[in-house]
């Protein structure tokens, strides 16, 4: 028990370890799969986001460029007239007016003369301005304004090409965000004489940039060449803060690199951490203006869906693994339970096996049981349907009397086997001192009926065979009638049914008797033989049984033949009942049958021809081969010829009587006649070693008789010559 507990514990440990390993492997596999999936999805999302951001930047830039181009065209288209107006300074104002009037995007326009270009006009800068209520004209050539110092004037003059100013807030108008395009105007000699400008409002820019919607949480920004914030969701910063100042609040220093890239007019993307979150910044320059546009997408926005999905997947995995653990636990528990059941079953089976061994040891099992005896050939078998059964047989010899029995306990299995044990013990005990089957059966019935609380009964057949005489006494207690083999036929032994043992105390059992001859036999069996069922529920039956038993075999061979026939018949159908058989072959040399034949012939030589047929018949009785038959024929012919030739004198007619007796182991011929006394055995031996010349013609007949037969005796009795010749077979 202790060992078993240790073993069980080890088993639990092993199972648990295997289960744990399974869970770990499953978890790792699931995790690896979802990781791969996660990274691919993440990569895809990033690409998608980049693509969308870039296309938005591109589209916005396109729209900006459209307006920028319009403004540039407006100025460029008026450049020739501005150049022309240099000759007519009064008309310069009209040029500015024309620029504003003819171009919807242009809010204001100035034509600023390079100081010193004209002798009489040191400074000249007419300015046309669309102020909601109409076009206003005034001059910017005031000492306070000092236009030659302004960036919009100096830069194009320095560069000699068109220039977009830094955005600025319109101080004169409604605080609009503005920018100015300035183009240097050259005179005929190619010298820069003036600068023509167009002011455009950037109001549309704010809404355009703000309308960029890549993701709900994303926002866009635009900065100027100098880093001035032009568009930003935080309106307080617009035009009031430089991007460098705004960036100083951001803890991630990567932003400085971003600022540098943007100011350098590069395009690309960069992750920046601020407000505790990672944001992806996509940026691109707007050519010519020096502006840089950016879209800021919080990472949570890009991967938000993915994170939610991953969370869900992880939750599902945890749930699945938890279920796996539960299932494994219950499997391990169940397997332990199963093992316990199995152990119990094994223990019971083991006990049953031992029980079977005990039961089998209660019936005689060594065959032949009486090897020294030649008068009885007995064999028996018992095949319980289950490990143990309720059938029994027994036999023993006491005082030259064979006591034998067969029985079948009602029911099967262990209860039946216990009753079987009791029955067999009772038989042994009772038959040790009782002589008659009736007394044995009656006595057993008393004991069994007394203690029969479970209403179990036993069909029983008991016999006693007096081995010297073949006298059989038997008593049947409700068992099926045994088969009797006698006179070359098989029939049921006549039995009075009576009642099985254990039913009625005080039951009067009837005894019967019969004389067995030499070579008679009895076959006792239980109904398990005849009621053996095949898969189609057909019974083996009495007819098949008798057919199998109709051959001449030893007791043991008979039982084997029946067993084989039953197995062959039932095939794979399970054995439904115990199968028990007992075969008893009675062989009494003193009572054996003798087959006799008799022939009388006259003392004529022709009559001798009759001998051949006679010997053939005898040979048939004795079942001997043709060579031996021929030898017997020769011996008999020589003996009879002797009588025919010499017994009766003077041609007197006389009979020759021939008797043949076939007994087990020998054939005996007797030749007798009533002629004169003559002993052929007294004739001298023929010397067969002599040469042909020395050999006599006669004397060969009796020589052959002596040679061919095992024993030859002559006697004269009742005035008869009697020659007896015996041949052992």
């Amino acid at each position: 028990m202790k060992l078993k507990t240790i073993f069980d514990k080890r088993l639990i440990k092993q199972s648990a370890r295997a289960g744990l390993l399974l869970v770990v492997v499953a978890a790792l596999t699931l995790e690896a799969t979802s990781l791969i999936q996660y990274f691919y999805a993440r990569h895809g999302l990033k690409e998608e986001c980049t693509r969308r951001a870039e296309s938005e930047l591109e589209a916005t830039k396109f729209q900006i460029m459209d307006i920028i181009n319009q403004a540039e065209s407006a100025v460029r288209n008026s450049a020739w007239i501005a150049a022309w107006s240099l000759d007519y300074p009064d008309s310069m104002s009209a040029v500015t007016r024309r620029v504003v009037e003819q171009n919807e995007v242009v809010m204001g326009s100035a034509l600023a003369l390079v100081p010193g270009y004209m002798k009489d006009h040191e400074l000249c800068c007419p300015y046309a301005y669309e102020a909601g209520n109409g076009l206003q004209l005034f001059s910017l050539a005031t000492p306070e304004y000092d236009y030659p110092s302004k960036e919009w004037f100096t830069k194009p003059v320095e560069q000699g090409s068109g220039y977009w100013s830094e955005p600025y807030l319109d101080t004169g108008g409604g605080g609009l965000l503005m920018t100015t395009y300035s183009l240097p105007i050259t005179d005929r000699s190619g010298k820069i004489a003036a600068v023509l400008t167009a002011d455009i409002s950037l109001d549309w820019l704010t809404s355009l940039v703000e309308d960029i919607e890549v993701f709900p949480e994303a926002f866009s920004m635009m900065i100027s060449r100098q880093g001035e914030i032009m568009v930003c969701p935080a309106e307080t910063l617009v035009m009031r803060s430089n991007v460098a100042e705004a960036s100083s609040l951001v803890e991630d220093t990567t932003i400085n690199r971003l600022n540098r890239s943007m100011l350098a007019g590069e395009s690309g993307s960069m992750p920046i951490r601020f407000n505790g979150k990672v944001n992806h910044v996509f940026f691109a320059p707007v050519e010519r203006t020096g502006w840089s546009m950016s879209i800021v997408v919080p990472e949570t926005e890009i991967y938000g869906e993915l994170s939610r999905m991953s969370l869900l997947v992880t939750l599902l995995q945890i749930l699945g693994l938890a279920m796996l653990v539960l299932i494994l636990r219950s499997v391990i528990k169940n397997s332990l339970k199963y093992k316990e059941l199995n152990d119990r079953k094994e223990r019971i089976e083991n006990e049953l096996r031992i029980g079977r061994g005990i039961q089998m040891s209660m019936v005689p099992k060594i065959f032949p049981p009486f090897p020294e005896r030649h008068d009885i050939d007995i064999s028996a078998t018992l095949h319980p349907a289950k490990e143990v059964g309720g059938d029994l047989y027994d036999f023993h010899i006491r005082d030259e009397k064979l006591f034998f029995c067969i029985g079948d306990v009602s029911g099967k299995g262990i209860p039946a086997s216990l009753v079987m044990a009791v029955t067999r013990s009772l038989f042994r005990t009772v038959s040790a001192h009782e002589n008659g089957p009736k007394r044995i059966v009656t006595s057993m019935n008393e004991s069994m009926a007394d203690m029969n609380e479970n209403n179990m009964f036993v069909t029983f057949f008991c016999g006693t065979l007096e081995l010297s005489s073949g006298h059989l006494r038997y008593c049947n207690a409700g068992h099926n009638a045994p088969l009797l083999f006698a006179n070359d036929s098989i029939q049921h032994l006549p039995v009075v049914p009576n009642l099985p043992l254990g039913i009625i105390p005080g039951m009067e059992y009837q005894e019967q008797e019969i004389d067995l001859d030499h070579d008679d036999a009895l076959f006792l069996y239980t109904d398990g033989v005849t009621e053996a069922e095949n898969v189609s529920h057909e019974l083996f039956g009495e007819e098949r049984l008798q057919e199998v038993l109709s051959y001449r075999r030893s007791a043991q061979e008979h039982l084997q033949a029946v067993s084989d026939a039953v197995s062959e018949f039932v095939k794979e159908a399970p054995q439904s009942d115990d199968i028990t058989m007992l075969f008893l072959h009675y062989l009494n040399a003193n009572k054996q049958s003798v087959k006799q034949r008799h022939l009388v012939i006259h003392n004529k030589i022709e009559e001798i021809s009759k001998l051949a047929g006679f010997v053939e018949a005898v040979a048939g009785d004795a079942k001997i081969d043709s060579s031996l038959a021929l030898n017997l024929n020769l011996a008999l012919e020589e003996a009879v010829t002797n009588v025919v030739m010499y017994a009766y004198t003077d041609g007197a007619d006389g009979p020759v009587e021939i008797d043949a007796a076939v007994r087990p182991g020998e054939i005996v011929f007797t030749v007798s006649d009533t002629g004169k006394a003559f002993d052929p055995t007294a004739a001298p031996e023929v010397d067969i070693t002599k040469s042909a010349d020395e050999r006599k013609i006669g004397g060969l007949g009796i020589h052959l008789v002596r040679k061919l037969m095992d024993d030859v005796t002559y006697k004269r009795e009742n005035a008869k010559n009697v020659l007896t010749m015996t041949k052992k077979i």
């Binding site: 030589i605 051949a612 020769l634 052959l704």
Partner: protein
């Protein structure tokens, strides 16, 4: 019982068929009577179809053998079956005849 005698110069073949028992020996002895006087050549007893022989049959064989011996001839016994060979052995006839 059937007996056929075929003589070619010095060679006489006697074909015996069936059972040579006491009754049939009498006829066979009569049929072979003539051979007794001209036994100077070779007499072949063809026993291939002979099934049985009793002492009366053996006597015929022996008297032929004696006659031949007296006249300088010889007797050959041919093709005896196992049963007859056994009888020949029991009677010492195996040594008296040339058996083929």
């Amino acid at each position: 019982m059937e007996v056929r005698i075929n003589t070619e110069k010095d060679l006489t073949t006697v074909f015996l068929s069936g059972r040579l028992d006491t009754p049939s020996s009498q006829e066979v002895a009569a049929k072979l009577e003539s051979l007794q006087d001209k036994a100077s050549g070779t007499i072949v007893l063809d026993c291939s179809e002979l099934k049985y022989i009793s002492s009366s049959g053996l006597r015929i064989f022996l008297s032929l053998r004696k006659a031949a011996a007296a006249q300088g001839g010889k007797v050959i016994v041919k093709d005896i079956n196992d049963d007859i060979r056994n009888v020949f052995m029991m009677t010492g006839f195996l040594n008296l005849f040339e058996i083929r």
